[in-house]
Protein backbone atom coordinates (compact mmCIF):
# COMPACT_ATOMS: atom_id res chain seq x y z
CA UNK A 1 0.00 0.00 0.00
CA UNK A 2 1.13 3.49 -0.84
CA UNK A 3 -0.22 4.83 2.42
CA UNK A 4 1.91 2.38 4.38
CA UNK A 5 4.90 3.47 2.32
CA UNK A 6 4.38 7.08 3.28
CA UNK A 7 3.69 6.27 6.88
CA UNK A 8 6.66 3.99 7.47
CA UNK A 9 9.53 4.91 5.22
CA UNK A 10 13.01 3.71 6.11
CA UNK A 11 14.11 7.22 7.09
CA UNK A 12 10.76 7.77 8.81
CA UNK A 13 11.99 7.01 12.30
CA UNK A 14 14.86 9.50 12.22
CA UNK A 15 12.62 12.12 10.69
CA UNK A 16 10.00 11.54 13.38
CA UNK A 17 12.58 11.88 16.12
CA UNK A 18 14.11 15.06 14.70
CA UNK A 19 10.72 16.72 14.25
CA UNK A 20 9.51 15.92 17.75
CA UNK A 21 12.74 16.51 19.65
CA UNK A 22 12.86 20.35 19.92
CA UNK A 23 9.28 20.55 21.19
CA UNK A 24 9.80 17.70 23.67
CA UNK A 25 13.02 19.26 24.98
CA UNK A 26 11.38 22.64 25.59
CA UNK A 27 8.25 21.22 27.19
CA UNK A 28 10.24 18.62 29.11
CA UNK A 29 12.19 21.44 30.75
CA UNK A 30 8.94 22.76 32.19
CA UNK A 31 8.07 19.34 33.55
CA UNK A 32 11.40 19.28 35.40
CA UNK A 33 10.59 22.68 36.88
CA UNK A 34 7.21 21.37 37.93
CA UNK A 35 8.86 18.51 39.83
CA UNK A 36 11.36 20.90 41.33
CA UNK A 37 8.44 23.02 42.49
CA UNK A 38 6.97 19.95 44.16
CA UNK A 39 10.30 19.29 45.86
CA UNK A 40 10.41 22.93 47.03
CA UNK A 41 7.01 22.49 48.63
CA UNK A 42 8.56 19.82 50.84
CA UNK A 43 11.28 22.15 52.12
CA UNK A 44 11.45 25.32 54.18
CA UNK A 45 13.11 27.16 51.29
CA UNK A 46 13.19 30.94 51.62
CA UNK A 47 14.53 33.31 49.01
CA UNK A 48 17.94 34.76 49.91
CA UNK A 49 18.72 32.19 52.58
CA UNK A 50 21.33 29.59 51.72
CA UNK A 51 20.30 26.74 54.03
CA UNK A 52 17.41 24.61 52.90
CA UNK A 53 15.98 21.88 55.11
CA UNK A 54 13.87 19.05 53.85
CA UNK A 55 10.88 18.76 56.09
CA UNK A 56 8.48 16.40 54.36
CA UNK A 57 4.89 17.50 54.50
CA UNK A 58 5.52 20.17 57.15
CA UNK A 59 4.37 23.01 54.88
CA UNK A 60 1.16 21.18 54.09
CA UNK A 61 0.51 20.34 57.75
CA UNK A 62 0.99 23.98 58.72
CA UNK A 63 -1.27 25.16 55.88
CA UNK A 64 -4.03 22.71 56.75
CA UNK A 65 -3.99 23.96 60.32
CA UNK A 66 -4.68 27.56 59.31
CA UNK A 67 -8.18 28.97 58.88
CA UNK A 68 -6.90 31.49 56.34
CA UNK A 69 -5.80 28.70 54.05
CA UNK A 70 -9.24 27.04 54.10
CA UNK A 71 -10.79 30.45 53.43
CA UNK A 72 -8.64 30.64 50.30
CA UNK A 73 -9.70 27.14 49.24
CA UNK A 74 -13.37 28.04 49.52
CA UNK A 75 -12.84 31.45 47.88
CA UNK A 76 -11.15 29.76 44.94
CA UNK A 77 -13.90 27.20 44.43
CA UNK A 78 -16.73 29.70 44.97
CA UNK A 79 -15.15 32.11 42.48
CA UNK A 80 -14.62 29.48 39.79
CA UNK A 81 -17.89 27.57 40.10
CA UNK A 82 -20.11 30.67 40.34
CA UNK A 83 -18.39 32.30 37.39
CA UNK A 84 -18.57 29.18 35.21
CA UNK A 85 -22.23 28.49 36.10
CA UNK A 86 -23.25 32.07 35.20
CA UNK A 87 -21.21 31.93 32.00
CA UNK A 88 -22.83 28.64 30.95
CA UNK A 89 -26.39 29.94 31.42
CA UNK A 90 -25.73 33.33 29.81
CA UNK A 91 -23.64 31.70 27.07
CA UNK A 92 -26.50 29.37 26.17
CA UNK A 93 -29.01 32.22 26.14
CA UNK A 94 -26.81 34.45 23.98
CA UNK A 95 -25.92 31.62 21.60
CA UNK A 96 -29.63 30.87 21.15
CA UNK A 97 -30.30 34.56 20.60
CA UNK A 98 -27.61 34.89 17.95
CA UNK A 99 -28.70 31.67 16.28
CA UNK A 100 -32.07 33.20 15.38
CA UNK A 101 -32.63 34.50 11.89
CA UNK A 102 -32.72 38.08 13.06
CA UNK A 103 -30.99 40.62 10.88
CA UNK A 104 -28.94 42.15 13.67
CA UNK A 105 -27.69 38.75 14.84
CA UNK A 106 -25.52 38.31 11.76
CA UNK A 107 -24.04 41.80 11.82
CA UNK A 108 -23.34 41.96 15.52
CA UNK A 109 -21.73 38.57 15.99
CA UNK A 110 -18.12 39.85 15.84
CA UNK A 111 -18.86 42.33 18.64
CA UNK A 112 -19.59 39.64 21.20
CA UNK A 113 -16.14 38.13 20.65
CA UNK A 114 -14.49 41.37 21.68
CA UNK A 115 -13.95 40.69 25.42
CA UNK A 116 -12.17 37.45 24.61
CA UNK A 117 -9.35 39.07 22.67
CA UNK A 118 -8.45 41.72 25.22
CA UNK A 119 -5.70 41.07 27.79
CA UNK A 120 -7.45 39.93 31.00
CA UNK A 121 -5.34 42.34 33.01
CA UNK A 122 -6.44 45.27 30.83
CA UNK A 123 -10.02 44.13 31.30
CA UNK A 124 -9.53 44.05 35.06
CA UNK A 125 -8.06 47.57 35.13
CA UNK A 126 -10.76 48.84 32.79
CA UNK A 127 -13.47 47.66 35.18
CA UNK A 128 -11.52 48.99 38.14
CA UNK A 129 -11.80 52.51 36.74
CA UNK A 130 -15.50 52.00 36.00
CA UNK A 131 -16.24 50.50 39.42
CA UNK A 132 -15.01 53.49 41.41
CA UNK A 133 -17.74 53.90 44.08
CA UNK A 134 -17.75 57.73 43.96
CA UNK A 135 -17.16 58.68 40.34
CA UNK A 136 -17.52 55.40 38.44
CA UNK A 137 -19.87 55.20 35.52
CA UNK A 138 -21.39 51.93 36.81
CA UNK A 139 -22.71 53.55 39.96
CA UNK A 140 -24.05 56.37 37.80
CA UNK A 141 -26.13 53.79 35.87
CA UNK A 142 -27.16 52.09 39.11
CA UNK A 143 -28.39 55.40 40.51
CA UNK A 144 -31.14 55.38 37.84
CA UNK A 145 -32.67 52.32 39.47
CA UNK A 146 -32.26 53.63 42.97
CA UNK A 147 -29.06 51.89 44.06
CA UNK A 148 -26.56 54.33 45.46
CA UNK A 149 -22.88 53.94 46.32
CA UNK A 150 -22.62 50.26 45.52
CA UNK A 151 -19.22 49.12 46.87
CA UNK A 152 -17.98 46.92 43.98
CA UNK A 153 -14.34 45.96 44.61
CA UNK A 154 -13.85 48.36 47.50
CA UNK A 155 -16.04 46.57 50.08
CA UNK A 156 -15.52 43.08 51.45
CA UNK A 157 -19.11 41.95 50.97
CA UNK A 158 -19.37 43.02 47.33
CA UNK A 159 -15.82 42.35 46.12
CA UNK A 160 -16.44 38.70 45.28
CA UNK A 161 -19.50 39.63 43.26
CA UNK A 162 -17.48 42.25 41.40
CA UNK A 163 -14.60 39.96 40.39
CA UNK A 164 -17.00 37.17 39.36
CA UNK A 165 -18.87 39.79 37.33
CA UNK A 166 -15.66 40.70 35.48
CA UNK A 167 -14.86 37.03 34.82
CA UNK A 168 -18.39 36.51 33.48
CA UNK A 169 -18.19 39.55 31.21
CA UNK A 170 -14.85 38.45 29.82
CA UNK A 171 -15.45 34.75 29.25
CA UNK A 172 -19.15 34.34 28.46
CA UNK A 173 -18.21 34.78 24.76
CA UNK A 174 -16.14 31.61 25.04
CA UNK A 175 -19.30 29.64 25.90
CA UNK A 176 -21.20 31.45 23.15
CA UNK A 177 -18.62 30.39 20.55
CA UNK A 178 -18.68 26.74 21.53
CA UNK A 179 -22.43 26.43 22.12
CA UNK A 180 -22.99 28.19 18.81
CA UNK A 181 -20.98 25.49 17.06
CA UNK A 182 -23.07 22.87 18.87
CA UNK A 183 -26.35 24.46 17.77
CA UNK A 184 -25.14 24.65 14.17
CA UNK A 185 -24.33 20.95 14.31
CA UNK A 186 -27.92 19.89 14.97
CA UNK A 187 -29.44 18.79 11.68
CA UNK A 188 -32.63 20.62 10.69
CA UNK A 189 -34.35 17.27 10.04
CA UNK A 190 -34.33 16.39 13.72
CA UNK A 191 -35.93 19.71 14.64
CA UNK A 192 -38.45 19.32 11.82
CA UNK A 193 -39.33 15.81 12.97
CA UNK A 194 -39.91 17.13 16.48
CA UNK A 195 -42.15 19.86 15.15
CA UNK A 196 -44.17 17.31 13.13
CA UNK A 197 -44.79 15.41 16.35
CA UNK A 198 -46.41 18.53 17.71
CA UNK A 199 -43.66 19.78 20.01
CA UNK A 200 -43.85 23.45 20.98
CA UNK A 201 -40.84 25.75 20.89
CA UNK A 202 -40.02 25.16 24.55
CA UNK A 203 -40.49 21.42 24.17
CA UNK A 204 -38.14 21.36 21.18
CA UNK A 205 -35.54 23.23 23.16
CA UNK A 206 -35.74 21.11 26.31
CA UNK A 207 -36.17 17.69 24.67
CA UNK A 208 -33.96 18.01 21.59
CA UNK A 209 -31.65 21.01 21.51
CA UNK A 210 -30.54 21.11 25.13
CA UNK A 211 -29.50 17.44 25.36
CA UNK A 212 -27.66 17.79 22.06
CA UNK A 213 -25.66 20.86 23.03
CA UNK A 214 -25.07 19.68 26.59
CA UNK A 215 -21.75 17.98 25.73
CA UNK A 216 -20.56 21.27 24.21
CA UNK A 217 -21.60 23.21 27.30
CA UNK A 218 -19.75 20.80 29.55
CA UNK A 219 -16.66 20.90 27.37
CA UNK A 220 -16.61 24.69 27.53
CA UNK A 221 -17.20 24.49 31.29
CA UNK A 222 -14.22 22.13 31.62
CA UNK A 223 -11.90 24.61 29.90
CA UNK A 224 -13.23 27.60 31.77
CA UNK A 225 -13.28 25.87 35.15
CA UNK A 226 -9.59 25.05 34.88
CA UNK A 227 -8.77 28.63 33.92
CA UNK A 228 -10.96 30.16 36.61
CA UNK A 229 -9.52 27.93 39.34
CA UNK A 230 -6.10 29.23 38.27
CA UNK A 231 -7.30 32.81 37.79
CA UNK A 232 -4.65 35.36 38.72
CA UNK A 233 -4.77 38.34 36.35
CA UNK A 234 -8.33 39.50 36.96
CA UNK A 235 -8.04 39.37 40.75
CA UNK A 236 -4.52 40.80 40.87
CA UNK A 237 -5.63 43.67 38.62
CA UNK A 238 -8.63 44.56 40.78
CA UNK A 239 -8.52 43.61 44.46
CA UNK A 240 -5.18 41.80 44.92
CA UNK A 241 -7.05 39.44 47.25
CA UNK A 242 -8.73 42.10 49.36
CA UNK A 243 -10.50 43.88 50.87
CA UNK A 244 -9.28 41.99 53.90
CA UNK A 245 -9.42 38.41 52.77
CA UNK A 246 -12.51 38.54 50.59
CA UNK A 247 -11.06 37.53 47.23
CA UNK A 248 -7.82 35.90 48.37
CA UNK A 249 -7.84 32.89 46.03
CA UNK A 250 -5.07 30.30 46.22
CA UNK A 251 -2.97 31.64 43.34
CA UNK A 252 -2.98 35.16 44.81
CA UNK A 253 -2.17 33.80 48.24
CA UNK A 254 0.70 31.75 46.76
CA UNK A 255 2.06 34.83 44.98
CA UNK A 256 2.21 36.92 48.15
CA UNK A 257 3.57 34.03 50.20
CA UNK A 258 6.37 33.39 47.74
CA UNK A 259 7.24 36.86 46.46
CA UNK A 260 6.38 39.14 49.36
CA UNK A 261 7.09 36.96 52.40
CA UNK A 262 9.73 35.13 50.34
CA UNK A 263 8.57 31.75 51.67
CA UNK A 264 9.11 29.82 48.47
CA UNK A 265 8.47 26.42 50.02
CA UNK A 266 5.10 27.36 51.40
CA UNK A 267 4.12 29.23 48.23
CA UNK A 268 4.88 26.14 46.17
CA UNK A 269 2.82 24.03 48.58
CA UNK A 270 -0.20 26.33 48.10
CA UNK A 271 0.13 25.99 44.32
CA UNK A 272 0.35 22.19 44.58
CA UNK A 273 -2.96 22.20 46.48
CA UNK A 274 -4.39 24.53 43.81
CA UNK A 275 -3.19 22.20 41.09
CA UNK A 276 -4.78 19.24 42.87
CA UNK A 277 -8.16 21.00 43.01
CA UNK A 278 -7.86 21.77 39.29
CA UNK A 279 -7.00 18.16 38.52
CA UNK A 280 -9.94 16.69 40.45
CA UNK A 281 -12.43 19.18 38.98
CA UNK A 282 -11.12 18.47 35.48
CA UNK A 283 -11.45 14.71 35.92
CA UNK A 284 -15.04 15.06 37.16
CA UNK A 285 -15.91 17.29 34.19
CA UNK A 286 -14.34 14.87 31.72
CA UNK A 287 -16.42 12.02 33.22
CA UNK A 288 -19.54 14.15 32.96
CA UNK A 289 -18.71 15.05 29.36
CA UNK A 290 -18.24 11.40 28.34
CA UNK A 291 -21.56 10.53 30.01
CA UNK A 292 -23.56 13.28 28.25
CA UNK A 293 -21.95 12.53 24.91
CA UNK A 294 -22.78 8.85 25.15
CA UNK A 295 -26.39 9.66 25.99
CA UNK A 296 -26.76 11.78 22.85
CA UNK A 297 -25.46 9.16 20.43
Amino acid sequence: MVREGVKRGGSGRTFLLISLLPAILILGGFILLFFWGFYQSLTDMRFGRASVDFEGFGNYARLFGRGRFWDSVSTTTIYAFTAVACEAVLGLAIAKLFNTRTLLAKWCRPVILLPLVLPPLSVALMWTTMMNPETGVLNYFLSFIGINNFGWISKADTAMFAVVFIDVWTFTPFFVLIIFAGLRGISPEIIEAGRMNGAKAWGLFLKIELPMVLPYIILAALFRLIDSLNQFDIIFGTTQGGPGNATNVLSISAYFTAFQNLQFGRGAAIMIVNWFIVLISALVMVKLWRYTRKRVS
Binding site: V2, V6, G9, L16, S19, L20, P22, A23, I24, I26, L27, L33, F34, W36, G37, F47, I94, L97, T100, L103, L104, A105, C108, P110, V111, L113, L114, L116, V117, L118, P119, P120, L121, S122, L125, M126, T129, M130, E134, T135, W169, P173, F174, L177, A181, L222, F223, I226, N230, F232, D233, F236, G237, S251, A254, Y255, A258, M271, N274, W275
Partner: protein
Protein backbone atom coordinates in the same frame (compact mmCIF):
# COMPACT_ATOMS: atom_id res chain seq x y z
CA UNK B 1 -48.60 38.12 11.89
CA UNK B 2 -48.58 40.65 14.70
CA UNK B 3 -47.06 38.05 16.98
CA UNK B 4 -44.20 37.44 14.52
CA UNK B 5 -43.40 41.14 14.40
CA UNK B 6 -43.44 41.40 18.15
CA UNK B 7 -41.04 38.44 18.54
CA UNK B 8 -38.70 39.91 15.98
CA UNK B 9 -38.75 43.25 17.80
CA UNK B 10 -38.02 41.63 21.16
CA UNK B 11 -35.18 39.56 19.69
CA UNK B 12 -33.57 42.57 18.04
CA UNK B 13 -33.93 44.53 21.24
CA UNK B 14 -32.21 41.77 23.22
CA UNK B 15 -29.36 41.65 20.70
CA UNK B 16 -28.87 45.38 21.00
CA UNK B 17 -28.80 45.00 24.78
CA UNK B 18 -26.13 42.26 24.62
CA UNK B 19 -24.03 44.27 22.17
CA UNK B 20 -24.31 47.31 24.43
CA UNK B 21 -23.08 45.38 27.46
CA UNK B 22 -20.15 43.94 25.52
CA UNK B 23 -19.13 47.12 23.72
CA UNK B 24 -19.90 49.90 26.19
CA UNK B 25 -16.93 49.40 28.54
CA UNK B 26 -14.53 49.53 25.61
CA UNK B 27 -16.15 52.61 24.09
CA UNK B 28 -16.14 54.25 27.51
CA UNK B 29 -12.45 53.60 28.08
CA UNK B 30 -11.61 54.99 24.63
CA UNK B 31 -13.62 58.10 25.49
CA UNK B 32 -11.86 58.42 28.84
CA UNK B 33 -8.48 58.26 27.19
CA UNK B 34 -9.30 61.50 25.33
CA UNK B 35 -10.65 63.34 28.38
CA UNK B 36 -8.93 65.77 30.66
CA UNK B 37 -8.42 64.72 34.27
CA UNK B 38 -11.20 67.00 35.48
CA UNK B 39 -13.67 65.43 33.05
CA UNK B 40 -12.78 61.89 34.11
CA UNK B 41 -13.26 62.54 37.79
CA UNK B 42 -16.48 64.47 37.27
CA UNK B 43 -19.71 63.10 38.65
CA UNK B 44 -22.14 62.57 37.06
CA UNK B 45 -19.87 61.19 34.31
CA UNK B 46 -19.36 63.39 31.28
CA UNK B 47 -20.46 62.05 27.91
CA UNK B 48 -19.68 65.20 25.90
CA UNK B 49 -16.26 66.78 26.22
CA UNK B 50 -13.46 68.46 24.30
CA UNK B 51 -11.10 65.66 23.27
CA UNK B 52 -7.44 66.08 24.13
CA UNK B 53 -4.33 64.10 23.26
CA UNK B 54 -2.64 65.03 26.51
CA UNK B 55 -2.98 61.57 28.07
CA UNK B 56 -1.21 59.93 25.15
CA UNK B 57 1.51 62.57 25.24
CA UNK B 58 2.11 61.90 28.93
CA UNK B 59 2.00 58.16 28.32
CA UNK B 60 4.71 58.26 25.69
CA UNK B 61 6.59 61.04 27.39
CA UNK B 62 6.47 63.41 24.43
CA UNK B 63 4.88 66.37 26.23
CA UNK B 64 7.05 69.40 26.97
CA UNK B 65 8.41 69.44 30.48
CA UNK B 66 5.74 70.47 32.99
CA UNK B 67 3.31 71.28 30.21
CA UNK B 68 0.84 68.67 31.45
CA UNK B 69 -1.36 68.55 34.50
CA UNK B 70 0.98 66.00 36.04
CA UNK B 71 3.98 68.29 36.35
CA UNK B 72 7.31 66.51 36.25
CA UNK B 73 5.96 62.99 36.64
CA UNK B 74 7.63 60.71 34.12
CA UNK B 75 6.00 57.75 32.47
CA UNK B 76 7.84 55.39 30.19
CA UNK B 77 5.33 53.39 28.21
CA UNK B 78 7.01 53.16 24.83
CA UNK B 79 9.60 50.68 26.04
CA UNK B 80 7.07 48.19 27.46
CA UNK B 81 5.25 48.21 24.11
CA UNK B 82 8.52 47.41 22.36
CA UNK B 83 9.30 44.76 25.01
CA UNK B 84 5.94 43.09 24.47
CA UNK B 85 6.41 43.09 20.71
CA UNK B 86 9.91 41.59 20.96
CA UNK B 87 8.94 38.95 23.52
CA UNK B 88 5.68 37.95 21.85
CA UNK B 89 7.09 37.88 18.32
CA UNK B 90 10.18 35.99 19.50
CA UNK B 91 8.03 33.47 21.35
CA UNK B 92 5.84 32.92 18.29
CA UNK B 93 8.87 32.45 16.04
CA UNK B 94 10.52 29.92 18.34
CA UNK B 95 7.20 28.09 18.72
CA UNK B 96 6.78 27.88 14.97
CA UNK B 97 10.28 26.46 14.52
CA UNK B 98 9.82 23.84 17.23
CA UNK B 99 6.09 23.31 16.91
CA UNK B 100 5.34 22.93 13.20
CA UNK B 101 7.46 19.77 12.72
CA UNK B 102 5.99 18.35 15.93
CA UNK B 103 2.44 19.13 14.83
CA UNK B 104 3.14 17.53 11.46
CA UNK B 105 4.58 14.40 13.07
CA UNK B 106 1.58 14.08 15.39
CA UNK B 107 -0.79 14.35 12.44
CA UNK B 108 0.95 12.03 9.99
CA UNK B 109 2.87 9.37 11.91
CA UNK B 110 1.60 6.47 13.91
CA UNK B 111 3.74 5.54 16.85
CA UNK B 112 3.25 4.09 20.26
CA UNK B 113 2.03 6.57 22.84
CA UNK B 114 1.07 9.15 20.21
CA UNK B 115 -2.28 10.03 21.76
CA UNK B 116 -0.68 10.17 25.20
CA UNK B 117 1.87 12.64 23.91
CA UNK B 118 -0.83 14.76 22.25
CA UNK B 119 -2.88 14.78 25.43
CA UNK B 120 0.19 15.63 27.48
CA UNK B 121 0.83 18.64 25.22
CA UNK B 122 -2.79 19.75 25.56
CA UNK B 123 -2.33 19.43 29.33
CA UNK B 124 0.01 22.42 29.30
CA UNK B 125 -3.02 24.55 28.56
CA UNK B 126 -4.06 23.82 32.13
CA UNK B 127 -0.70 24.15 33.84
CA UNK B 128 -0.90 26.40 36.88
CA UNK B 129 1.58 29.02 35.69
CA UNK B 130 2.49 30.10 39.20
CA UNK B 131 3.61 26.62 40.13
CA UNK B 132 6.23 26.77 37.40
CA UNK B 133 7.20 30.39 38.06
CA UNK B 134 8.17 29.90 41.70
CA UNK B 135 11.00 27.44 40.92
CA UNK B 136 11.77 29.26 37.69
CA UNK B 137 12.39 32.54 39.50
CA UNK B 138 15.32 31.07 41.44
CA UNK B 139 16.59 29.23 38.40
CA UNK B 140 16.57 32.44 36.35
CA UNK B 141 18.33 34.38 39.10
CA UNK B 142 20.99 31.68 39.30
CA UNK B 143 21.82 31.45 35.60
CA UNK B 144 21.35 35.13 34.77
CA UNK B 145 18.22 34.83 32.64
CA UNK B 146 16.16 36.99 35.00
CA UNK B 147 14.99 40.12 33.21
CA UNK B 148 16.29 39.08 29.78
CA UNK B 149 14.51 38.83 26.43
CA UNK B 150 15.89 35.37 25.88
CA UNK B 151 14.61 34.10 29.22
CA UNK B 152 11.17 35.60 28.62
CA UNK B 153 10.92 34.14 25.13
CA UNK B 154 11.82 30.78 26.59
CA UNK B 155 9.20 30.80 29.39
CA UNK B 156 6.55 32.08 27.01
CA UNK B 157 6.87 28.71 25.26
CA UNK B 158 4.79 27.40 28.13
CA UNK B 159 1.85 29.24 26.57
CA UNK B 160 2.67 29.48 22.87
CA UNK B 161 4.27 26.15 21.98
CA UNK B 162 1.44 23.74 22.98
CA UNK B 163 -1.02 25.96 21.13
CA UNK B 164 1.06 26.02 17.92
CA UNK B 165 1.53 22.24 18.01
CA UNK B 166 -2.15 21.63 18.56
CA UNK B 167 -3.32 24.04 15.86
CA UNK B 168 -0.71 22.86 13.39
CA UNK B 169 -1.75 19.26 13.91
CA UNK B 170 -5.37 20.09 13.18
CA UNK B 171 -4.41 22.05 10.05
CA UNK B 172 -2.22 19.22 8.71
CA UNK B 173 -5.08 16.77 9.26
CA UNK B 174 -7.22 18.96 6.99
CA UNK B 175 -4.77 18.42 4.10
CA UNK B 176 -5.55 15.22 2.15
CA UNK B 177 -2.84 12.57 2.61
CA UNK B 178 -3.13 11.73 -1.08
CA UNK B 179 -1.18 14.85 -2.05
CA UNK B 180 1.79 13.65 -0.03
CA UNK B 181 1.44 10.12 -1.35
CA UNK B 182 1.59 11.44 -4.89
CA UNK B 183 4.77 13.32 -4.07
CA UNK B 184 6.22 10.17 -2.47
CA UNK B 185 5.50 8.17 -5.60
CA UNK B 186 7.42 10.77 -7.59
CA UNK B 187 10.36 9.97 -5.38
CA UNK B 188 10.30 12.86 -2.96
CA UNK B 189 11.81 12.20 0.45
CA UNK B 190 9.98 13.03 3.67
CA UNK B 191 11.77 16.32 4.52
CA UNK B 192 11.29 17.44 0.93
CA UNK B 193 7.57 16.63 1.08
CA UNK B 194 7.22 18.61 4.25
CA UNK B 195 9.08 21.69 3.04
CA UNK B 196 7.90 21.81 -0.56
CA UNK B 197 4.44 20.28 -0.47
CA UNK B 198 2.95 20.58 2.99
CA UNK B 199 4.39 23.89 4.15
CA UNK B 200 2.99 25.96 1.26
CA UNK B 201 -0.44 24.40 1.79
CA UNK B 202 -0.16 25.06 5.50
CA UNK B 203 0.81 28.69 5.17
CA UNK B 204 -2.59 30.37 5.52
CA UNK B 205 -3.35 28.27 8.58
CA UNK B 206 0.01 29.01 10.12
CA UNK B 207 -0.43 32.75 9.60
CA UNK B 208 -3.71 32.55 11.51
CA UNK B 209 -2.19 30.41 14.23
CA UNK B 210 0.76 32.78 14.58
CA UNK B 211 -1.55 35.79 14.93
CA UNK B 212 -3.61 34.06 17.56
CA UNK B 213 -0.64 32.85 19.56
CA UNK B 214 0.89 36.32 19.40
CA UNK B 215 -2.36 37.49 20.95
CA UNK B 216 -2.05 34.99 23.80
CA UNK B 217 1.54 36.02 24.43
CA UNK B 218 0.45 39.66 24.45
CA UNK B 219 -2.19 38.81 27.09
CA UNK B 220 0.27 37.33 29.53
CA UNK B 221 0.82 39.11 32.79
CA UNK B 222 2.05 36.79 35.55
CA UNK B 223 5.29 35.74 33.85
CA UNK B 224 6.37 39.32 33.22
CA UNK B 225 5.33 40.44 36.70
CA UNK B 226 7.63 37.95 38.38
CA UNK B 227 10.46 37.35 35.94
CA UNK B 228 11.29 40.88 34.75
CA UNK B 229 12.29 44.24 36.20
CA UNK B 230 13.25 46.37 33.18
CA UNK B 231 12.04 44.26 30.28
CA UNK B 232 8.44 44.45 31.45
CA UNK B 233 5.64 43.70 29.01
CA UNK B 234 2.74 46.12 28.47
CA UNK B 235 0.41 44.41 30.93
CA UNK B 236 2.85 44.81 33.83
CA UNK B 237 3.61 48.42 32.85
CA UNK B 238 -0.13 49.14 32.98
CA UNK B 239 -0.37 48.01 36.55
CA UNK B 240 2.61 50.19 37.45
CA UNK B 241 0.77 53.20 35.98
CA UNK B 242 -1.78 52.89 38.79
CA UNK B 243 0.90 53.29 41.42
CA UNK B 244 1.86 57.00 41.55
CA UNK B 245 -0.82 57.57 44.17
CA UNK B 246 -2.38 60.56 42.43
CA UNK B 247 -5.50 60.18 40.33
CA UNK B 248 -3.97 58.80 37.20
CA UNK B 249 -7.06 57.31 35.54
CA UNK B 250 -6.77 59.40 32.35
CA UNK B 251 -3.26 58.18 31.56
CA UNK B 252 -4.17 54.61 32.60
CA UNK B 253 -7.08 54.79 30.16
CA UNK B 254 -4.73 55.79 27.36
CA UNK B 255 -2.45 52.87 28.30
CA UNK B 256 -5.39 50.49 28.32
CA UNK B 257 -6.41 51.62 24.85
CA UNK B 258 -2.87 50.97 23.58
CA UNK B 259 -2.83 47.50 25.17
CA UNK B 260 -6.17 46.70 23.52
CA UNK B 261 -5.55 48.14 20.06
CA UNK B 262 -3.00 45.50 19.16
CA UNK B 263 -5.27 42.46 19.79
CA UNK B 264 -8.19 44.14 18.05
CA UNK B 265 -6.04 44.90 14.99
CA UNK B 266 -4.86 41.29 14.99
CA UNK B 267 -8.34 39.81 15.02
CA UNK B 268 -9.38 41.99 12.14
CA UNK B 269 -6.40 40.60 10.23
CA UNK B 270 -6.94 36.98 11.24
CA UNK B 271 -10.69 36.81 11.63
CA UNK B 272 -11.10 33.55 9.76
CA UNK B 273 -8.75 31.67 12.06
CA UNK B 274 -9.85 33.20 15.27
CA UNK B 275 -12.73 30.97 16.23
CA UNK B 276 -10.78 27.75 15.84
CA UNK B 277 -7.98 29.21 17.87
CA UNK B 278 -9.99 30.80 20.65
CA UNK B 279 -11.73 27.53 21.36
CA UNK B 280 -8.33 25.79 21.38
CA UNK B 281 -8.76 22.08 21.67
CA UNK B 282 -12.43 22.24 22.57
CA UNK B 283 -13.53 22.39 18.96
CA UNK B 284 -11.22 21.04 16.36
Amino acid sequence: MLKGKLTSFVLNFLIVAVVFVMAFPIVWIVMNSFKEAADINAYPPVFRFDPTLENYKVLFDIADAEATSYGTLKVEFFKPVINSVIISAGAVLLSLIAGVPAGYALARFNFRGKEDLAFFILGFRFAPVLLVIIPMFQFFQAIGLYDSYFGMIWVYQLITLPMIIWLCRSYVEDIPVEIEEAAAICGAKRPQIMLQVVLPLLRPGLVGAALLVFLLAWHNFALGLILTAEKTPVTVALLKLLNPGISFYPVVSAGLVISMIVPIALIILGQRHLERGLTFGALK
